[in-house]
Symmetry: C2
Subunit: 200 residues, 2 copies
């Protein structure tokens, strides 16, 4: 659709249409919803965006979201320093936490190796992971990348780098449906995969 | 999902999840996209919301979106004052405009009669439509509400009110797929429906 609405309406539709998973029809529907909504409701969304962008940074240690230097998990002193669970994205931490089966810390790669999309190892937080393993007395790294092609490739790559450091390197057990995303796994399946993790 | 992210992240997910058609997973995906996006991109969306809410009002005459007192169509003096096309929402005006078969003006009801959702005739801009018919020398009202239950009920209701005013009252021809929404109709179908409109 060409630009057919009053300027500010079209601008809003255009900006909404840039969001992932939002097509032109959805963008229009959301824009009209916002225009009809009470001003305070619409402003709460705008404020939430600005506030999140202003206050959220990356945890200096594990690259999860954080409001300060370190994230909730890195600040939690009850957590086992010797155990690191490596995930692709912050949302995967939430999936692992829901199992209540892991009490170590995390490392967020911020993606997976995907040559087609131009994501190589140097774009991920791999260098920082290796540094942590050296500095923090880590005895085991659990690789919890997604059980799809990119995630498996990333796991293989990490395993090759980590094995020479003489620590235990494990991968979530299969049991996860292959080809899927970690974030959609249910607690039981993901918990079982954690329990049955295997040496890589 | 319970509140598991850092405050500002969760607040953003919650606000996004209130939008129509955005489930919890989509809200999370969009939030992470915004958190990873360049600050200027995220702020452009926030600004578009605030700007649209600040500058867009309802046209005093037809209740379409407007940036001033009157909307684009009501300001356009080449448009036939004697012809009013009644639609449910501003998006329906765009659908009718795409046919290039209508050169009159519009009236936006801002909804349809839907007793189950608590929308009665008094919530719609019907009083204002009747006033316009009396004041603006209107000779025909084309009722272009959606060809679904609520739209048909609204059309019947309007026809009963308008007929005694001794004007022509028409309804878009069937040819539109019944049960659907006007906004999804293609130009040809909608154009044909306009041409073949019938007396109610």
């Amino acid at each position: 659709m060409s630009s057919v609405y009053e300027g500010p309406v079209q601008a809003l539709i255009d900006e909404l249409g840039r969001l992932p998973g939002i097509g032109p029809k959805s963008a229009q529907r959301i824009a009209f919803y916002l225009l009809k909504a009470a001003p305070e409701d619409a402003h709460r969304l705008a404020d939430a965006i600005v506030d999140a962008k202003a206050r959220i940074t990356w945890c200096r240690r594990c690259f999860n979201f954080a409001t300060g230097e370190l994230c909730t998990y890195c600040l939690d002193e009850r957590r086992d320093l010797a155990l690191i669970c490596v995930v692709e994205e912050p949302r995967d931490i939430v999936a692992v936490e829901r199992t209540h089966e892991f009490a170590g810390r995390y490392h967020v790669l911020q993606g997976a190796i995907a040559p087609i999309e131009g994501v190589g190892p140097e774009q991920l937080r791999i260098k920082e992971l290796l540094a942590r393993v050296g500095e923090e007395g880590v005895t085991e790294v659990i690789i919890a990348t997604n059980p799809n092609i990119e995630g498996e490739a990333t796991a293989m790559y990490l395993a090759r780098l980590l094995k020479p450091l003489e620590i235990r390197v494990t991968r979530l057990a299969s049991g996860l449906p292959v080809g899927g995303d970690l974030e959609y796994a249910d607690e039981v399946t993901l918990g079982r995969a954690l329990e049955g993790r295997r040496e890589v």
